[in-house]
Symmetry: C2
Subunit: 332 residues, 2 copies
Amino acid sequence: MTMIDGLECGPFDRESFLRLKAAGVHGVVVTCGFWEGALESLDSLGRWRDLVRDNADVTCMGDTPEAIERAAEEGRVAAIMGFQNANLFEGRIRLVEMFAELGVRVVQLTYNNQNELAGSCYEAEDSGLSRFGAEVVREMNRQGMLIDCSHVGDRSTLDAIKASEKPVAVTHANAASLFPHKRNKSDKVLHALRDTGGVIGCAAYRNITGDYYSGPIEQWCEMVARTVEIAGIDSVAIGTDRGHNMDRAIYDWMRMGRWTRGVDYGAASAARPGKAPPPDWFQELEDMRVIPDGLRSVGFNNEEVEKILHGNWMRLYRATFRTSDRYEETQQ
Amino acid sequence: MTMIDGLECGPFDRESFLRLKAAGVHGVVVTCGFWEGALESLDSLGRWRDLVRDNADVTCMGDTPEAIERAAEEGRVAAIMGFQNANLFEGRIRLVEMFAELGVRVVQLTYNNQNELAGSCYEAEDSGLSRFGAEVVREMNRQGMLIDCSHVGDRSTLDAIKASEKPVAVTHANAASLFPHKRNKSDKVLHALRDTGGVIGCAAYRNITGDYYSGPIEQWCEMVARTVEIAGIDSVAIGTDRGHNMDRAIYDWMRMGRWTRGVDYGAASAARPGKAPPPDWFQELEDMRVIPDGLRSVGFNNEEVEKILHGNWMRLYRATFRTSDRYEETQQ
């Protein structure tokens, strides 16, 4: 049984891919950037592409659904290039196409703060999708990029689902009705995903999962089962939000970027500011191996387990990822 | 008889392509930038790509030799994306590959001033190729971009020819032994081009051509014939340096960019600072039609005329342009 992880973060190394392979993961959306502008994003993307190329025995670019399937067959881990913010476009609509040609397949409309496109889950007021946001949604549809709304506010997320001609992802979040947190999604959003072919990746990050669902694997899988009750079996998958090689500087960049001289805790809080301990069942990356049996233990049959682990993401990727990087073939 | 123009500049519009077609040109290297950094170059490239896409009945991307040949058959003008400076890379080696994937095929190592790569023809001291310059030459070889040395100093040009594993271009300049000007190339450079399969595009810009060779077409073709005597029939082609829709702001940007608060005249001079009048035979772009007969009138046979107008550039493009934009296929 192979798995796709809808989102991980932090700087990968060769070890990351070896451990993902040992965990049974054959596809993962990586985080190439949080606050980086266009040029910094090119730098980051260049380094990620080199990492993939330099470790071609264990990984490959996950830039087409076929490449991801092939990775599973070959025992490699397809790295799907993603950004958790739209800052890479720097307000330029034409950069959507160019970043798509360079291999980027998943972009979140905004990260923890409001930007030119949309409101964030942490803003007091979620503006909804802006004019430029609507342009980017349309262009991402055209250029074969998956729209991610994990950190986007509920109102902007609903706007994006409505504006998008293709289904949308919440790559890493949980149901707010199961664990209330600004980062988690209302049932209204989960229903909208269900009704439009979108997918939510259930997170395994303690700050947005809560202590109960961060207990033994059966309890996390109970959360998945309840999410399926809300969003339907075709719209629930996995997006652990697992970090690789995280250190203080990376947390600081993730949370504060350059936008404040003060302190921001992201999904953490002043009361629990540090690194959240991983779920009890998820001490090491390789522990993801327990997920399939965990899902069965809470009553999912094999077909359902396959959808959650692999099929739902693949269907969404097939519906949204571009199939060619050739300029000529995107000329219409 | 179709022609390739090794370099033109200025902002094209639909009319530019229609007129080039009327002139018998089916391939042209355009100037997407002079001083622009990476992000500004993406902006410019994006606009050029849109211009090509929006006028697909008369133009196409000249990103492969096949596309350029096909343009000739279909009566279109292939636009080959070029930059007259390496500022688009902003000191980042990985951007060579990414700009290549986005369609850029010709980059000049430096424009009128010394940069991180090389010395310019106008510097008092030409440093020769720098360490980063040598890296970029190798990377352009690998990534399928043609190296242009038109404004590069002689010493740096000879270094580049030596460092490059593939032949190099001087897309738009003349022989300094025929018309002495800092922008023109020594016989030593022309011999090095000849000995390595490189090509020089004879310019039709009065400031670097001189009044005699800017007379009737036979006189300009006499200059081409003398250039062939120096560089050989396989290394001489056309690179008019013609400008489209040029105005004062564009000349100022070309010459001064952001590098001086003073005045710089580029190839002009304080004595003749303004726009140089075009050669007598080249009042309108469509006048390029007279070139084939002009070349015959100075004694070239049909095979030689074909090399000068088309064959030499095509051979060089085949030797240097990448054949695929797919990341996977450039993984070795």
